[in-house]
Symmetry: C2
Subunit: 193 residues, 2 copies
């Protein structure tokens, strides 16, 4: 699928932010995933949730099901993820998530990903080749300044041009260097689960 | 305790909105309670949660514990409840909640409470006199127009003057006729629990 082009980016664009809840690293079981929909940077529209296996392999598929079955699906224009690993090392394939949902995906982190460290950690888990392949499939890493007064953030994108992703992030952030949908998804996921 | 007086109401006032999650009426067990803190009408600050017994008697105490133990306690200036009954007929004593937390309480409903109907329902439960006493302790019901284009809402207040409550509700609402903290608490409680 070719990337979505954004000829204009409305200030009221609907963004879905997704983050994971608290869990005990390396334990068995599942972790809660929370999605929050914002309209522009100020209006909270709704929530959705799913569960994925801690250190599992089901994140991409579970995220796609959550998004596609949500009542907000028709309104959402872009999905913003907190990195690509959730519930430990359950890695989201952002290109596959784009093709399963038809929605552009932006993965954002505040720290520059330390790939050698991640690679070493993945070697301790089953299906190393599969997981590392998904990590590599995230593609190029972009460094971008969202707020002049804050640290830059790091992006992977799928189904969207870097320049469009940057513009959307700038338009949907307020005081933080991430979109409000993602900031609030993090607060809810870590506060309620 | 005498009511809190608000000499000025800052546009960035911190409001805690509280609502209950989904549950099966008349069942045994607990229902999730979600609290959302907003700074003014646009900024989501955080969440808190507790559980109360369905049709139980512990709402007032559980709400007070949740509020007083929250990291946001020192910042919150007013608490806005979705009515006074939660998890079926677990009634919050708004005057007691004011005295336990030191925070003004506003209970808000979109429908005018049908007291004869509520009284009849309470007669089917244990501790009728206690529950009905708590309902009556909510005091005077005020009808107030928050948005000229929307239906009026109905308030009970404790620890705050009606005129101050009205001003706070107007300053912390956007498109709805209730404060954003309460609108979002409802979305989260019903969407995630």
């Amino acid at each position: 699928m070719s990337p979505k082009r954004f000829h204009t980016i409305k200030p009221e664009i609907r963004v879905l932010g997704i983050d994971d809840g608290r869990f005990i690293p390396h334990s068995k079981g599942t972790v809660d995933i929370v999605g929050v929909v914002y309209r522009g940077p100020y209006f909270f529209e709704g929530v959705m949730k799913t569960k994925i296996a801690i250190d599992g392999l089901d994140a991409t598929e579970k995220f796609a099901l959550m998004i596609n079955n949500s009542p907000y699906f028709g309104e959402i224009r872009v999905v913003v993820l907190d990195g690509v690993t959730f519930g430990g090392f359950n890695v989201v394939d952002i290109r596959k998530l784009f093709s399963l949902t038809g929605l552009p995906i932006i993965s954002i982190t505040r720290e520059k990903p330390n790939l050698p460290q991640i690679k070493a950690a993945l070697r301790n888990l089953s299906y190393f080749d599969l997981r590392w392949g998904v990590m590599e499939n995230a593609g190029e890493l972009f460094e971008v300044e969202i707020k002049p007064t804050l640290n830059p953030v790091y992006l992977h994108v799928a189904g969207i041009l870097y320049e469009d992703a940057k513009m959307i992030l700038k338009k949907t952030s307020t005081v933080a260097n991430i979109p409000e949908a993602l900031r609030v998804a993090h607060l809810i996921a870590s506060g309620l689960t």
